[in-house]
Structure formats: C-alpha cells, structure tokens
Symmetry: C2
Subunit: 345 residues, 2 copies
DNA sequence: AATCCTATGGGTAACGTTTCCCAAAACGTG
DNA sequence: CACGTTTTGGGAAACGTTACCCATAGGATT
C-alpha cells in the first residue's frame, strides 16, 4: 500500500485572489483588525470557506504570534494534574489559543529542554505546573514568554503564580489524625534538598506544614519523615521503610494521593488492615481517592479551579506584559473517608 | 512587581557575523549538511555556543521542518496512555524531535480541532492514539503529515498502524473466567455505534472478541453487554445496571482498567465482596491494577512497547514518505490477580 | 467652496531559515 | 602543464503572514 502525494496548502494569497482583494485585507479580516467594511469582511469570509483556508502558524510565528500556549506537566501519571489541565483547556476553549503539553519528566535538565523547546516554537504563553527549575531559570523563561507558574509558592516580578495553601493543607491532615487520637503520625515527602527550592516547592511546604502542625499539637518528638518521590513506587518504598520502624507509626500522611496508592500496597503486603491497624491520608483528592475499595481520606485542592485561574492570568498577561504580577492562593479542604480512624488499642 | 523587558533573539545572522562566515554556512553546520570543512564547523559551533543561539522553529517551519511531532491522546485520565507516551518519548529522546501532546477530549469535532491545529503548526509527524475520527478524516490528515495511528485495527495506504490483538485479549479474559467455572460473564464496553468504526476501534473489537469467545465456549445465551464509556464513571454506571439484572452476573469483564475502577466502586457500594460474590477483570494492566488493595486481574498490552514502535515507524515514515505502510500488531497476555475466583455456590 | 477628517483599502518590507544555484579554489590525472 | 573533477563557501530567492505606512474617496465643518 502506498501513501498518496500531499496537496499544497491554501495561503492568504489564494484567498485574496479569490475574493479580489489584497492580502492585507484578508489579514485584517482574520485578525478582526481595524479598517474593514462589512462587505469586504463577508467576501473574504466567503473566500476562506470556499477554499478551506487555514492560517499557517509558522508564518504567523515569524511575525510574533502563534496562538499557542504551552503547558508543562511534571508527571502525567499523577491523577491530580489532569484536573489542572481540564481547567486550563476549559478556560481556553472559546479563545483562539490552542493548548499543547509537554511532559517535564525527571528534573531540571529535562525541564529546561521543554521550556527551551516551547520558546523556540514561539509559544504565546506558558503555564508551568510545579516546575523544579531554579528561580533564575524560571525568570529567564518568563522574560522571554508570558508565563504563569502553578503550585510553587513565592512571588516573582517576572511571572504570575497560582498555588494552594499547602501549609494549611498539611495542618488539616495532622489535626484530623491527632483529633482521632493518633500520636505517631509519619509523613512521606517528595525529596527536596536544594535550599533555594525548599521554600517554594509545594512538596517541601507540605512537609514543613506537617512539622509545624505536629509541633503545634505538642507532637514534636513524634515527627517522622521519609523522603522519596511523589510516585506510586515512592509511596510503596517509603511505607516499607516506615513499617519497619519501631514503634511503628499508627498513621501515615502521604504527600500526594499517588503516594498513598503505593502506601496502601505496601501496607496490604505487610498484612496490615486499613484503618484498623494503621490510618492513611493522602493529598489532592483525586478521583481514585473516592473509589469504593480505596476510599482515601485526602486534602482537596480544587485543581480545575487552579487551572482556569492560571489560564485567565496568562491571557491577561499576554494582553499586557508590563502589568504587575499577580499571586493567587487557594485554600484546601479535608475530605475524610474510610482510611482514617482512631489508632488501635 | 513589574516584569522586565524581554531580550531579542539571537539569529543565524548574528552567528554568521560572529564566526565571519555566511548564513548559509551556519545553516549547513546546523543541519550537518554537505559542504562544510572541519575548520568551519568548529568556528560556527564556537560562535553558536558563544552567543547561545537556538534555531527558531517558526522560521524553520516556513521552510518545511519544525522538528516537532504531535501526539494526540484520547483521555489523559486513563492510566494506560502514559505508558504509550513513555514509549514514544523514550524513542524520540535522542533525536532532534520534540514531542508535544494535545488532549483529544470528547469526540470527533474535538479531534478534528486538534489534528488541524497540529497541521497548522507544521508538525513533522503525528501519532494519533485510539482516534475516533472517520477513516476518511484520518487519511486526509495522513495525506498532509506523516501519521501513525495507534490502537485502531485495519490497514490503510495512508498511515502506519500499531495495535494490540484485542480479539485475543478479550478471549483470554473469557477463557480465564469460564475455566474458573463462570457462565454469567457480563461485559462493559465503550459505546460504538458507527458501523464504519465498529470494525476498527479497539473497544468495539474487545466487545466482539467477548462475543466470539462466549460462543466458542457455548455460552452464547449468557452474553450480556452494557454500553457506556471507558471512564471510571462509565464503569460505575455500567456496573450498577448489571447488578440489578436478574440473575446477576457472577463475573464482569470491564473493557479497560479505568472502567474496572468504577465497577469496583459500584460493587462495593452494593455490599458485595470481590471475588467471593463476583469476579472482576480489567484490560490494560495499568499500575493501578497491581495495587495491593485492588489487585485486579487484567490483560497486559505492553503499552511502552507500542509507543516505541509507533515512534520508530513515524521516524521511518518521515524519512521516506512513499514507502509502503506497515501494520504492527502485538499479542496481549493475561495477568491474573485476586479479583477473579470461582463463582459463588 | 475650500478645508479637514475619517473610513476604507492596498503596497511593501520585514521576520529567520533553508535551498537552489553558482564561483572559486584545491586536487587528481594524463 | 593543461584539463576535468571535487571540495568549499556564499548570494539571493523563497516560505506565509503581519504591520507600517500611504492613497484615495466621501462626508462634515468652516
């Protein structure tokens, strides 16, 4: 079987000829620019339909606009991120902007590759979700392209931010567990050692919120943290470590639902019952947390809402690149389900 | 806080001036083209490093190449698709190609929007995962841009395909359940009514495979199908329907793991025990299926492998657009876990 | 009736890169 | 040493779109 040859693209010149107007006129109609009579608009629109014309983004890109916004997601497997993405695409659906995503994958180098690639491709704007890159890199990027950073705390003069109050979220979990009577509450965090990032990354702030809340409840001696990653495997390995500690924790606060999934697996393999032997709480309130057999207590941080706000900020920023940057922060809520209960004994 | 002004891009002209050569020479070095001496290459490379030059994709796009491939995924929430994506990015990591994704979302119109957008952006190639668009649309797209279609069966002269033998996969499940002694085995499918698609879509073929396998085991009178969607919610609603049927099925074969998640929830809410009261099997063997508390019997269809093969086919096709199209088909295997057991009684 | 607007439309030069050519120099062969 | 061949390098024209200008024609204002 042989593929057929490809047809040639219809250009603005073809449209202009067909409508008997100049290319300038067609361009103006396309962009709803000033200087077009209703009659001309109608004729040009007709010609566009007749010929099936579509603007070629590369050519537009050379003139400065591609009508494309790039979204960088850290980990497509984490079921929380689709929520944010839904919010973004919802907000951008009615606009002329097309959303394209790239996976950030592992670490700073891969992130840089993605941000560079997006800049090279002339993105009109970028939304970076929970980036791990250095602040200076982010500001350099934001200097080239309008950028909104999602998830990271801290304000910058170069980019807008949307985040959730992770400090409060962690406290919600600790307070809930402590109210149930737990004292040995352990936490599994996504490892973060870089001191410059430690104040900004949501994972680090959740860990800090855990420590503060434990102290506030007089449980400073019970603070117990394992550092792994926000992945299912990270949760699995982290829980295995925690379960061998003596005395064993009576509750585990996983920094993300996806981590809690791994914890559940390790706990079940260890022959322990949830929540009779051990309580487990997650973070993000993903759709999996609501699943019957899992029914995970989790912190809800309206991801969709975060996404729509990020998209709106980006559009505003594209419209006015020098307006002061904004910082939007949402407050999380706790959703209690069946994986948390009073400690045994 | 006010954002700073943005710097101007370094172009090939700047590099040429700095290296004291022509822009043609720089272009040749960039593309490893013929007609460059080692000395010139060295000088140009040095200049590129000095100036931090990066090629501008839009300008390249105007000449026909953007070094970008587009991937369309139907549903980012389905944990099977990240596997395919990993395979694709693995295969493309060492190449000059950058991967950009777009969510296909709901239905044909949204898919067309995505494929058009990718064509407009001058993608060098596209990988469409389980597209629902009409065959003629796919062939039109493939006529404009090298395209690989993943998941759909059926051969086309316009595009290459990579798929898994869904017919065999469905049979694996039915045979497994029948061997355990089940007779009332129900199936939840992703609804497909379009006759042109019914022969190509993996979901439809799984349903067909279910019917055939039931007949082959002499269970044609027990065939029972609910049509919903391949989503968690679809599984939930589908299972609710099945559980009210009388007599109730003793086993449910969900067309995808994500569907099985919803089934588990409905079953648990109905107060039934898995697998004592009812057996459940999924499809895709996602990481969630392996989770301790879930431990779902599922059909494994090496998603990563599918992805790398699709990417390789795409690269080959970009290299030679007239070579005959290829069709790669993989064979699935069954992974039995704790959600399937002999029927009660 | 002369002047000044405003609305409408078009001509044309960019934007950054590649590709098709052609020119000059270096090399190999008899 | 004269000739053909290969290697090395550059000039310049695209590619499709937008933005900055300018030209014209009516209409309104004096």
């Amino acid at each position: 079987m042989e593929p057929p040859a490809q047809p040639k693209r219809v250009t603005i010149v073809d449209v202009a000829r067909h409508a008997q107007v100049s290319t300038t006129a067609v361009s103006k109609v396309l962009r709803n620019a000033y200087g077009t009579s209703p009659q001309m608009r109608a004729r040009v629109r007709q010609a566009i339909d007749d010929l099936g014309y579509r603007p070629f983004a590369a050519a537009r890109g050379m003139r400065g606009q591609t009508y494309t916004v790039g979204v960088m997601l850290p980990d497509i497997r984490n079921p929380f991120f689709p929520e944010i993405l839904d919010g973004i695409t919802d907000a951008l659906w009615e606009t002329d902007y097309q959303v394209l995503m790239a996976p950030g994958r592992n670490g700073e180098a891969a992130e840089a590759k993605v941000t560079e690639a997006m800049i090279d491709r002339g993105m009109d704007g970028m939304i970076l979700v929970a980036p791990v890159s250095s602040r200076s890199h982010l500001e350099r990027v934001a200097g080239m392209v309008p950028t909104v950073v999602v998830g990271r705390h801290g304000r910058s003069a170069a980019y807008d931010t949307v985040s959730d109050d992770d400090l409060a979220g962690a406290a919600l979990v600790v307070d809930h567990l402590a109210d149930l009577g737990h004292r040995r509450i352990a936490h599994i965090e996504h490892d973060e050692t870089d001191p410059r990032r430690i104040e900004e990354m949501p994972n680090a702030i959740r860990a800090d919120g855990y420590r503060r809340a434990m102290r506030a409840r007089g449980l400073e001696d019970e603070i117990s943290i394992v550092s792994t990653t926000y992945t299912q495997r990270g949760g699995y390995l982290g829980a295995q470590q925690l379960l061998t500690r003596s005395p064993r924790p009576t509750a585990i606060f996983a920094g993300a639902d996806i981590v809690a999934m791994g914890v559940l697996q390790a706990v079940s393999e260890a022959g322990l019952e949830v929540p009779d032997d051990i309580s487990i709480a997650g973070y993000d309130n993903t759709t999996f947390a609501a699943l019957g057999p899992i029914s995970l207590t989790s912190v809800d941080q309206a991801g969709r809402h975060i996404g729509t706000n990020a998209a709106q900020l980006l559009i505003d920023r594209i419209g006015d690149r020098v307006r002061p940057t904004a910082q939007i922060k949402f407050s999380p809520t706790l959703v209690t389900r069946r994986t948390t209960a009073p400690p045994p004994g």
